[in-house]
């Protein structure tokens, strides 16, 4: 057995992103339980069949979760605390890209591996850091799948021409909107209308009316949960339904959205890497365990966070030691295939910048209170249904 191996995780447990942080925390705790107890059911994933870290003589895993409070400064303080006081061997996640940036800078200075599972800002892996790794797909991956989908989609039998993007104007919404716009325009699809708005608004009806006025073929929303809920409600109140409605990940994949507004957003299309709808898959099983624990579905963000954490643990195990350098080396050598993951990436393999080169995305559609994968057709569990239904 031996002393537990400590891994730190930074999450937003208070502040506006607390809801996402809470879900992620439950997933991380689930991951710890799965690693520390044998899970024959999940044997295809590393560390699941055994208990603790076999590579470290069966030492158990202990996670130290710290609240970054949505502040770059607190994120840094907590990273430092995890390193110097808790003596963690690696730090994972962090959530908002800006916070990941400051927290990982501390890890870099102290020579501790930092793995993020969900921060998408492209520049994070452009800093020349040697201790920084990222498992999630990033902007260009995301944009690519949307644009491919838009190229193939038909509205009333004709190709999509008019696309509108509504994005919240903080880092997440701005960067995703920007990369979609660039990719789309490069492939000959113009963005007819882009409406940036301030997140956490008290009222979003003006945006909805603008869309209603402009009548786009496709409306893409990039929002956090609170606004996502308001959009669904306001669209219903204003009686607006675009032929195709896309809600990008974050707010729309949040189970809170599905629970509170899912019934009036039927048929909304979402980008995800996590498709728990196929029985027998790792995703399905992990989701079932998560649901048993929390009573909620695991959403994509949470799943990516959990995957990032699991990848870190796998590397520690393979390192066979808790020295940071050994873990760093093991991370560099990571080579997981799709079957070893709980999420729909093609695999996990880091490039020289620390970015997972095998990350990928798929599109899912809301049916009832579940997202079903519908695109690309090769991996779809069900056919795509258009147009967008909303509340009927």
């Amino acid at each position: 057995q031996g002393a537990p191996v400590k891994v730190g995780t930074l999450l937003p447990l208070t502040g506006v992103a607390a809801s996402a942080g809470g879900s992620a925390k439950a997933a991380i705790e689930l991951a710890v339980e799965l690693i520390n107890t044998p899970q024959p059911d999940l044997a295809s994933m590393p560390l699941m069949a055994t208990s603790g870290f076999p590579g470290l003589g069966g030492r158990p895993l202990q996670v130290v979760i710290a609240d970054q409070q949505g502040s770059p400064s607190v994120a840094q303080n907590q990273a430092l605390r995890l390193i110097t006081q808790e003596r963690v061997v690696a730090i994972t996640n962090g959530y908002q890209s800006g916070l990941v940036q400051t927290a990982s800078a501390i890890a870099e200075r102290h020579g501790i591996p930092y793995v993020t599972g969900e921060a998408v800002a492209t520049n994070l892996t452009e800093r020349g850091f040697r201790w920084f790794f990222r498992t999630t797909p990033i902007g260009p991956d995301i944009a690519a799948i949307y644009v491919e989908f838009l190229q193939s989609a038909r509205v009333n039998g004709r190709p999509v021409t008019k696309v509108a993007i509504v994005n919240e104007n903080t880092e997440y919404g701005t960067s995703i909107a920007e990369v979609i716009r660039r990719t789309a325009e490069a492939r000959g699809i113009g963005i007819a209308l882009q409406i940036p708005y301030a997140a956490n608004s008290a009222d979003v009806s003006a945006q909805v009316l603008q869309l209603k006025d402009a009548q786009p073929d496709v409306a893409i929303f990039i929002s956090y949960t609170s606004d996502a809920i308001l959009y669904a409600r306001t669209m219903r109140a204003q009686g607006y339904r675009p032929p195709i409605l896309i809600g990008d990940n974050s707010g729309f994949s949040d189970d809170n959205f599905v629970q509170t507004a899912g019934d009036i957003a039927q048929g909304i299309i979402n980008r995800s890497a996590f498709d728990p709808s196929r029985p027998g898959s790792n995703s399905f099983k992990v989701n079932a365990l998560y649901k048993a624990r929390t009573g909620r579905e695991m959403d994509d963000t949470t799943a990516r966070i959990m995957q990032g954490f699991l990848v870190t643990c796998d590397a520690i195990n393979r390192a066979g030691a808790t020295e940071p350098a050994a873990i760093q080396k093991a991370l560099r050598e990571t080579n997981l295939d799709a079957g070893q993951l709980m999420i729909g990436y093609r695999g996990v393999k880091f490039d020289e910048k620390g970015q997972n080169s095998m990350a990928s995305v798929l599109l899912v559609q809301l049916r009832g209170r579940e997202y079903i994968s519908v695109w690309p057709e090769a991996t779809a569990t069900a056919p795509l249904q258009l147009p967008y239904k909303g509340w009927e």
Partner: protein, 331 residues
């Protein structure tokens, strides 16, 4: 009344001894503590004390409760990091530009807002800070919503990128010392009297020839300059600023809270307030944050509530009270 007749010499000497001891303790303790996290909290206390003391010039001494000081803080932070982004300067070299921008902004916004009384002034300052935040969010050249970063890897000492928190502690501490010296000098001279008079009865003060507007503006300028410098130091240490962390209202509120807690309008109030608030915040977060239940803020908030409940005048009130008791016993 009887207090006035007590010979003051021994007390003054006592005060000197106390002061030197306190200074020595402030200089030495980080060297005695090995824990970097604790040392970093020390540095953050200094940083918070710096902004709160700068705020204190306007909010405490002049009695103009600004809740928009983050505007100046943001100027400093952004100037530092934009200097790097645009010209690859070491962040701290942007500080003078941040100060210059802050002074300009203070000059422009000061004269109209300082006319406002009480809560109206507070709200106007909030509105200004929010305006700045919204403008920055919507201006890609200023980093937009994404924010701006400093050098990812330190290039020279000038980047002020240290692994140990100690250098930060001493840098922030020396700037704080300069600010406190200025405050002390100011409070004993004409400006200090004038500001207190304005705070008490502006009309009466003006009738005594106090150019209230001019003095308030001057206090605002000095305050803005130091707040901006604090922002630059913050940015140099953190290497990142975005509209929320550099221009968000919460930061303004924290300056006010730190000063109010220790005693606004007193020399050491902001330092004392920061020395309580910052560790309290970090400790509660360290102790309870990982639980994800929000108990961090319940405890943190409750302690603030209790302090305001039992010492509404700030902890300086308790100090005065203790001293009064002390002299009564002694006398």
């Amino acid at each position: 009344m009887s207090a006035a007749t007590i010979p003051t010499a021994p007390r003054a000497a006592g005060r000197w001894v106390l002061g030197v001891a306190a200074l020595a303790a402030l200089l030495a303790w980080p060297l005695l503590v090995e824990d970097e996290f604790i040392q970093r909290i020390g540095a953050l206390v200094m940083l918070s004390a710096l902004s709160a003391s700068a705020w204190n010039l306007v909010g405490g001494y002049a009695g103009q409760i600004s809740i928009g000081h983050v505007l100046f803080f943001g100027c400093g932070a952004y100037a530092s990091l934009l200097g790097f982004t645009w010209f690859e300067w070491a962040p701290i070299l942007g500080a003078p530009f941040g100060i210059a921008t802050s002074l300009l902004l203070a000059l422009i916004v000061g004269s109209p807002t300082l006319r406002l009384k009480g809560h109206y002034f507070s709200m106007a300052t909030i509105a200004l800070a929010e305006l700045a935040r919204i403008v920055v969010v919507n201006t890609p050249a200023l980093g937009g919503a994404v924010g701006v970063s400093g050098p990812a890897m330190p290039r020279s000492v000038l980047d002020l990128s240290f692994i140990s928190p100690l250098p930060y502690y001493y840098i922030f501490g020396s700037v704080l010392a300069v600010l406190l010296l200025f405050t002390w000098w100011m409070s004993r001279g004409r400006m200090g009297f004038y500001l207190r008079a304005i705070r008490g009865q502006e009309r009466a003060a003006r009738s005594l020839g106090v150019p209230a507007q001019r003095y308030k503006l001057f206090a605002l300028l000095v305050s803005a300059a130091f707040t901006s410098l604090t922002g630059s130091l913050y940015a140099a240490m953190l290497g990142f600023v975005d509209p929320d962390s550099g221009l968000g209202i919460l930061l303004s509120v924290k300056m006010v809270i730190a000063a109010a807690l220790g005693g606004a309008g007193t020399l050491f109030g902001p330092l004392v307030g920061s020395a309580i608030l910052v560790p309290l915040e970090e400790m509660t977060n360290a102790a309870f944050g990982g639980g994800g239940t929000g108990i961090t803020y319940v405890v943190y908030g409750a302690i603030i509530v209790l302090i305001s409940r039992f010492a509404p005048g700030g902890l300086a009130e308790i100090w005065t009270w203790l001293r009064a008791r002390g002299t009564r016993r002694g006398g």
